[in-house]
């Protein structure tokens, strides 16, 4: 099924001052693939994700999108890159000054120059897809965390991205709301969306991912099929991490 490399990462490095967060990261995301990135806290997973759409600029190595070196991108090319690479954040980051519908309409209207009606129609169909069409006219503050995150996913989808980046999308949620968000994400994966998901939800990773990457101390220590990763991890650190999580 996966045929062409959408994102290619080559010897990626990121330093914050003297603190080396990412070291010699290599990896390829094929179109249609779902990659789950797992690993202990502070291992650089989120930073890695944020380097892909250049919210953080790498201090070494290259990130290629559709074969093009993102380092050479102009400001407007960068905007286009981000438009095609949606992102879902741990803390949702909905715009509190706008209604749910306006949150979904803003970028399509401003960036893609859609008409108000077009954008509203699209927004409503996306809200329906995440099961929240009746919340179109409320402000985000009146929604639960799970609902907010589903709106955030719909907002990212409104731009028709080619890949969706998820930065621990369920970590800030109450446990009873995790399921609804994962269900939406699973549906997306099944529809063929390319996804890179940083997560602690091992069940989701095992069920949905095409490949699981294990990160620790700024390195990707193992890339494997989910079954192999969770049943027979090769790397010692990965073994240790997985046994601690699954063992409970």
């Amino acid at each position: 099924m996966p045929d062409k490399p959408l994102i290619k990462v080559d010897k990626l490095e990121k330093k914050f001052g003297d603190n080396e967060v990412l070291k010699e990261i290599d990896g390829t995301v094929m179109a249609g693939q779902v990659i789950c990135v797992i690993g202990p806290s502070g291992s650089g997973k989120s930073t890695f994700l944020r380097c892909l759409n250049l919210l953080e600029h790498p201090t070494g190595g290259k990130v290629y999108f559709e074969g093009k070196d993102t380092e050479t991108f102009t400001e407007s090319e960068l905007t286009t890159l981000r438009e095609r690479m949606g992102m879902v954040f741990q803390s949702f980051n909905l715009f509190p000054n706008l209604t749910v519908l306006e949150n979904l309409k803003l970028a399509p209207m401003r960036v893609k120059k859609m008409s108000d009606q077009e954008a509203a129609d699209k927004a409503m169909s996306l809200l329906k897809r995440v099961g929240l069409e009746e919340k179109a006219d409320v402000y985000p503050a009146s929604l639960s965390g799970g609902q907010q995150q589903r709106v955030a996913i719909a907002r990212a989808l409104a731009m028709d991205p080619e890949v969706l980046l998820f930065d621990e999308p369920t970590s800030a949620l109450d446990p009873e709301m995790v399921g609804e968000v994962l269900a939406v994400m699973k549906g997306l994966a099944e529809s063929g969306m390319t996804m890179v998901v940083v997560t602690h939800e091992m069940g989701f990773a095992r069920e949905v991912a095409d490949e699981v990457w294990f990160m620790a101390d700024g390195y990707i220590l193992e890339k494997n099929k989910p079954d192999d990763m969770f049943n027979h991890p090769q790397n010692e650190r990965a073994k240790d991490f997985i046994s601690k999580i699954i063992g409970q």
Binding site: T80, E83, R110, V111
Partner: protein, 492 residues
């Protein structure tokens, strides 16, 4: 900030230096050019502009005539005759006394006439006509002290009040042994100080003293026993340096006035107007003055708030700009404006910039207050933008929104909500601080307050009325702002 420090300091210095260069070159150039064409220029123009501070009866003050307020008094009558003799129309520009001499120096007016004594230090910056009136010097005292202070020698080692920067002030200081001289800007304030025994006597020109005792039964006066040089103690008109031909023409009129003893007749006429003014001194009777003041205070405040917010937003965005030049300009501007008093800025825009472009007083006031407010609003908005969660910027970026769109639709609306109370404070203080424009003659509430005080000889009541009016305005504004704050909360 630290990296930018040097650049910012450089930008501030450059800014100051360019101002300095601009204003040190321009005036000399103009004076030289205007020399001795002064009379011809007035005749070509067909008007003569007189700067005066109409809070000094009987010299100049305001009266209500057919429902319109008008500046009258001895000085005005004399100037009318001068204008008639020159064959031109008289235009009167009112402003605070501090500003009248600057007005002729900077060409805002052709002649300053406000009971001005031609002191040697003043002669250094302006030309004077002949003395047109010499009323002599007197002292005002409380009636209860009549037995105590019979003459000038009784004032030794006492506290004496006088208008700052006037002849009376200098005389009391140098000629009354051991006296403590207390200076204030306005005679109305000084009279109040006298009546509340903060000073024992008040050095004042005889015609003014006479006006006061006529209108206030608690006051008494006696004439001074200074030995004075007549050329320095009377009142004269001030003109821009190098106005020789115009001064000569004016002196001809003054000679006629002296020969025909017209000054006394003018004084008598002024007395009649003063009676009209003091006939009914209730504040209600003077309501039109206060209303006009409110109107101007509101005009200045409303326009300045709008432009202040616009300018403040632009400056705040410049501070966030990647361009180091824009950043430095914004920082320099904000630091400079916040580091100088609004009063100086008002004078600068009216008189300083006025050398290049002749701005009317109201417009100058609005510009100065807007420019000032912009600097403060910029800092408030900057704080507001910083207070918006970083995740909001990242979310907008991840959707492909440009920085401008992100600012406009996401960051600024949230910042505005956060800074609303601080912005409200700025609006309230702007209304109050805009009162400073009265010094260039904008007829705002404070200006009208001083007129009413001078006209009615009532020191406290007009102040009280103005205080209440300011409170009502700011209170209503605060309510309106709170209402909108509540609505924004609701929206979340």
């Amino acid at each position: 900030m630290k990296v930018q420090g040097k650049k910012v300091i450089l930008a501030i210095l450059t800014f100051c230096l360019s101002l300095f260069v601009l204003f040190s070159i321009q005036p000399t150039h103009q004076t030289a050019y205007a020399a001795d064409q002064s009379l011809q220029r007035i005749k070509q123009k067909g008007t003569i502009v007189m700067a005066t501070s109409p809070d000094y009866p009987p010299y100049e003050f305001e009266v209500q005539k057919n429902g319109k307020s008008q500046i009258v008094g001895m000085d005005v009558d004399i100037m009318k005759k001068v204008a008639k003799d020159l064959g031109v129309k008289l235009v009167i520009k009112s402003m605070s006394f501090d500003s009248v001499l600057v007005a002729v120096e900077t060409g805002k007016a052709d002649v300053a006439m406000s009971g001005i004594n031609p002191t040697p230090s003043r002669r250094q910056s302006v030309d004077f006509s002949e003395i047109y009136y010499n009323g002599g010097q007197s002292f005002l005292i409380n009636k209860t002290d009549v037995a105590k202070y019979k003459n000038q020698s009784a004032l030794a080692h006492k506290k004496i009040g006088a208008q700052t920067g006037t002849l009376q002030y200098n005389l009391a200081k140098s000629k009354i042994p051991g006296a403590t001289v207390k200076g204030m800007d306005k005679n109305t304030d000084l009279v109040l100080a006298l009546k509340t025994h903060k000073v024992d006597a008040l050095g004042i020109e005889t015609p003014s003293a006479e006006a006061y005792i006529k209108n206030d039964p608690d006051l008494a006066m006696f004439k001074s026993s200074y030995h004075l040089n007549k050329n320095e103690t009377g009142s004269a008109m001030a003109l821009k340096k190098g106005s020789g031909t115009l001064v000569a023409a004016i002196n001809k009129s003054i000679d006629q006035i002296k020969q025909q003893h017209l000054a006394n007749q003018y004084l008598a006429d002024a007395g009649k107007y003063m009676k009209v003014n003091t006939h009914n001194t209730s504040m209600w009777h003077y309501r039109s003055y206060f209303l006009k003041g409110v109107e101007y205070t509101l005009i200045i405040s409303a326009i300045s708030v709008i432009f202040g917010v616009l300018l403040g937003t632009i400056l705040a965005l410049m501070r966030f700009s990647k361009s180091k030049i824009l950043h430095a300009i914004a920082v320099a501007y904000i630091e400079f404006v916040r580091g100088t008093p609004l009063m100086v800025q008002v004078l600068f825009v009216y008189f300083g910039v006025g050398i290049i472009i002749n701005l009317p007083a109201l417009l100058s006031g609005i510009i100065a207050v807007s420019l000032n407010s912009g600097a403060y609003v910029a800092e408030i908005i900057r704080g507001g933008i910083n207070s918006v969660d970083k995740g909001q910027t990242e979310a907008s970026a991840s959707l492909g929104l440009t920085k401008g769109d992100s600012m406009r639709y996401v960051i600024l609306p949230q910042a505005l909500k956060n800074i609303w109370p601080a912005l409200g404070n700025e609006f309230v203080s702007l209304i109050k601080e805009s009162s400073i424009v009265s010094i260039i003659g904008v007829t705002d509430l404070i200006y009208q307050l001083n007129i009413v005080r001078a006209d009615t000889y009532r020191g406290v009541m007009p102040v009280f009325v103005a205080m209440i009016i300011y409170f009502i305005i700011t209170f209503i504004l605060t309510r309106v702002l709170n209402y909108y704050e509540g609505r924004m909360k609701h929206a979340r």
